[in-house]
């Protein structure tokens, strides 16, 4: 019984030290993202072989959180620039991404059945497939969701690829659910080059959505026959 006061003291100590909860240390802190983390990463140049021309393979990490921006990407120069959706972008670009929507600079897109570049590159050639041009859309690129509760969403009228459906956002009900289609897309540019691209992830390290990690191959080396 003489120990009871000690127990009470310890208990009171625990109570006062845990007013706002305990075990905070079991969780991770959000990591601050540096601007230098975005862009083209880990690019590897693969030299030409007897069967295949040279190509580069790597990763691209872009932030597409803002509904009012396109992120323009140019694969030759390995550059990316974000610009307001209403501005005319006059730099070089191959594709542009808005949230999860993609438009091409006069290119065409085909969706393959492959999800893995290594499997694809083990082939001697790629089966023929249909490339589709961007189409004029009035209800795909949402730029103002302030009226979403009235389903009064403002969309940008723009050309946009309807082939690239790597993330499907489904709502209602709320919160939206995200369906991830893990496929490789081949984008044929108007200069004749092709890009092989797939979405690896659409959240950042902290779990925030619309941070895209893309794996790409450029120029895409497999013949289609």
């Amino acid at each position: 019984m003489s120990r009871i006061p000690n127990i009470v003291v310890v208990l009171i100590g625990i109570i006062f030290s845990s007013c706002d909860g305990m075990f905070e240390g079991i969780y991770d802190e959000p990591v601050a993202e540096q601007q230098s983390e975005f862009g083209f990463k880990n690019t590897t140049m693969i030299p030409a072989t007897e069967d295949m021309p040279a190509y580069s393979r790597g990763w691209l990490y872009v932030k597409t959180v803002e509904y009012t921006e396109w992120t323009y990407i140019h694969f030759d120069s390995k550059t990316f620039v974000s610009a307001d959706v209403h501005e005319e972008y006059d730099g070089d670009w191959d594709i542009a991404i808005h949230r999860y929507e993609v438009k091409t600079n006069g290119g065409k897109v085909r969706k393959t059945d492959y999800s893995d570049f290594n499997t694809m590159l083990n082939k001697t050639h790629l089966e023929p497939g249909e490339y589709k041009e961007d189409v004029w859309t009035t209800d795909k690129v949402a730029i103002d969701l302030s009226g979403i509760l009235d389903f009064d969403v403002k969309f940008l009228e723009t050309y946009c690829s309807t082939e690239i459906d790597w993330v499907e956002v489904i709502y209602p009900p709320y919160p939206p659910t995200y369906k991830n289609h893990d496929k490789i897309f081949i984008i044929k540019l108007n200069n004749g080059n092709r890009i092989g691209i797939r979405l690896e992830n659409y959240v950042n390290n902290n779990g925030v959505k619309a941070y895209l990690t893309l794996e790409y191959i450029y120029p895409f080396p497999l013949e289609e026959k």
Binding site: L145, L149, N205, N206
Partner: protein
């Protein structure tokens, strides 16, 4: 699985045929044990037959017989008028005759449960291992339990160690990949009773067979640990300490898993001061956290934490051997950190209350109970008084009961301070001008108890004003917590149950619920007006063998509910028709040498699948099978 079923039924028939009943040792469950002591309705121990407010009890035998994993499974099977469906992000939401999760107070050993998602507690943390019984009091109980008990109280009471030592291990696996493992160790020695349990549940992702607003049921992994230690230093003093840890991981997408944790503990002292006088003092801690685990980065970042510290005192005084006066009070500090506050910030508030209740046993078998409670909330300076009065009159085997109870629900920190941009889509705002939700609950019931049968008819009417709802606000251009107009919820529930010495038993229950709102207002509840539940079972034991076969079913009528859909926006609702459906479950439990139980279950026996999975449709893929094994190791030594 069909072969398995045939095998089980064949075994059952065979063993039943060869076993000779030991009529001397029949251990048949009594129909309803009216002698058992319950505590929830009056906060004083009372025999069930003497409680002036209708109390339903789901006992330990029922829990074992249903092989339920959590309180949701059990309530749906055992309680008429209960439906669990999915809310957003596949969090379970409850509807008990028109009252949702925010209006029903869940308690574990009399203590509140922290944390909520879409106004419902995490039912999966309410694990059924080591539960002695569940007491359910429908109707407002705010005069004893304060805020949130507008629709009723569900109190989950833990089991004491009853043997010098006992070890139970059990496991269950099913046709849709679900698994459950559980171990409980209890010790009773001198002045110590200890019960420790560990449970693990695994549910795989299930793709739904038809179209709907959701297309799959997410995978869930659950861990649950509980320890309860009781020390009885003298005949007059009992000290109970408890601690528990709960962890759940839901794979809601390929890139992010939602994690839920709960850390709870407490200590309670009970002092029998003198004959007819006892007092309790308790401290309770409950912390419910949510975090998001990002698969690629392996970061587990917390974005929600609800921490509740509660101190409670209770004193009971029985005078003249038949009247009881109860007085008590609580203090609670409620802390909430959530991603729904500005910059993921936090708020806290203090709550204090005092309550008193007088139970008078009058001549001619009359009992009258009156009680009142004063609540104070520091943040809103809210002061509220709730009162109740109830009576019971015994007429031979018939008990007549009636009561009025006032209920209230104080605005929660979430409802007061939310300011959340839902995924860059729209804003949800809290409202510091919210008034408390208030209810007036009237009920009368008649109960007939016979040796083999029990019949109950209960009629109720509730008027709920200033309902706290999330509604569209043009001024805010977003969703806003606000007080909505009143709703009337009326209904009845009728139940007939019986059990015979032959081992045959059954229960038939019917509930009717009618909700009405002001003309022109949307009725967004999906309460089904008619629900019927039925159970037929056969329970028999011989010296070294026992069998329990149970067929349970429920029939739910169709209903039309107003819902916000893609066709309507949030300013008006679309009428969604929910079809009537029926769901049946067959359980066969065989108990061998009084130590080993094997339970085979066929769930959704008649293979019901909704035509379309609306928000409140039952999330079923059709008929499923499971088999469970339970071993009481100490019994193997006997």
């Amino acid at each position: 699985m069909r072969k398995l079923l045939v095998l089980i039924i064949s075994t059952l028939i065979y063993t039943n045929a060869i076993a000779q009943p030991n009529t001397d040792s029949l251990d048949v469950l009594r129909n309803v044990d009216m002698e058992q002591v319950v505590v929830t309705a009056t906060r004083t121990p009372r025999q069930l037959k003497a409680v002036p407010i209708v109390t339903r009890v789901i006992g330990n035998m029922d829990i074992k017989r249903m092989d339920a994993t959590n309180v949701g499974n059990l309530l749906e099977s055992e309680m008429p008028g209960v439906e669990f469906t999915y809310a957003m992000n596949q969090q379970q939401q409850l509807n008990i005759q028109g009252f949702g999760g925010s209006s029903v107070l869940f308690l574990i050993d009399g203590e509140r449960v922290a944390g909520e998602t879409h106004d419902n507690v995490d039912y999966q943390r309410l694990n059924m291992s080591n539960v002695a019984r569940i007491e359910i009091v429908k109707g407002a109980a705010s005069s004893l339990y304060g805020s949130q008990a507008i629709g009723g109280v569900i109190n989950i009471l833990s089991q004491d160690a009853t043997k010098p030592w006992a070890v139970n291990v059990n496991a269950k696996t099913g046709s849709i990949g679900e698994q459950r493992y559980n171990a409980t160790i209890s010790i009773r020695k001198d002045k110590i009773r200890s019960t420790m349990s560990a449970a693990r549940e695994i549910a795989e992702c299930i793709r739904l067979p038809r179209e709907g607003v959701f297309e799959k049921i997410y995978a869930n992994n659950v861990w649950n640990f509980k320890e309860r230690l009781k020390y009885i230093p003298t005949d007059n003093i009992t000290i109970t300490a408890r601690a528990s840890y709960f962890f759940r991981e839901m794979e809601s997408s390929a890139v992010i898993f939602n994690r839920y944790r709960d850390f709870a503990g407490g200590i309670k002292g009970e002092w029998k001061i003198a004959e007819g006088q006892n007092a309790e003092l308790s401290y309770s801690y409950d912390q419910y956290d949510k975090s998001d685990y990002t698969v690629a980065s392996r970061l587990d970042i917390r974005d929600y934490s609800n921490v509740q510290h509660t101190i409670r005192g209770l004193y009971n005084y029985t005078f003249q051997g038949k009247h009881t006066f109860t007085i008590g009070g609580d203090y609670m500090r409620d802390y909430l950190l959530t991603y729904q506050f500005v910059n993921g910030g936090s708020f806290y508030q203090h709550m204090a209350d005092a309550f008193a209740q007088l139970e008078l046993t009058l001549p001619r078998d009359w009992q009258i109970v009156g009680g009142t409670r004063f609540d104070y909330y520091s943040d809103t300076k809210l002061k509220h008084v709730s009162s109740k009065v109830s009576f019971m009159k015994k007429l031979g085997n018939i008990s007549l009961r009636g009561y009025y109870a006032g209920g209230f629900k104080a605005p929660s920190l979430k409802e007061l301070y939310t300011s959340w941009n839902m995924q860059n889509m729209f804003m949800i705002y809290g409202n510091t001008h919210l008034r408390p939700e208030v209810s007036h609950n009237y009920s009368v019931s008649v109960e007939y108890q016979h040796q083999n049968a029990n019949m109950l008819l209960n009629v109720f009417h509730n008027v709920v004003t200033d309902r706290i709802s999330l509604i569209w606000s043009r001024a805010h251009n977003g969703m806003l917590y606000d007080n909505a107009n009143k709703v009337d919820i009326s209904g009845l529930d009728a139940c007939v149950s019986t059990r015979w010495a032959s081992g045959i038993g059954g229960k038939l229950a019917y509930t009717y619920t009618y909700e009405s709102v002001l003309s022109g207002e949307p009725l967004v509840s999906s309460t089904r007006p008619h629900m019927v539940s039925l159970r037929v079972d056969y329970d028999k034991r011989w010296q070294k063998y026992g069998i329990n076969t149970s067929l349970t079913g429920k029939i739910l009528s169709a209903t039309d509910a107003g819902e916000y859909t893609a066709n309507t926006g949030f300013k008006e609702v679309e009428t969604i028709h929910y079809s009537a459906y029926t769901m049946w479950k067959l359980l066969i439990t065989q108990r061998i040498v009084n130590a080993i139980s094997v339970t085979a279950t066929i769930d959704n026996l008649f293979d019901y699948i909704p035509e379309y999975f609306h928000t409140s449709s039952p999330a079923t893929i059709g008929r499923t099978y499971s088999i469970g094994l339970s071993v009481d190791i100490e019994e193997l030594w006997k």
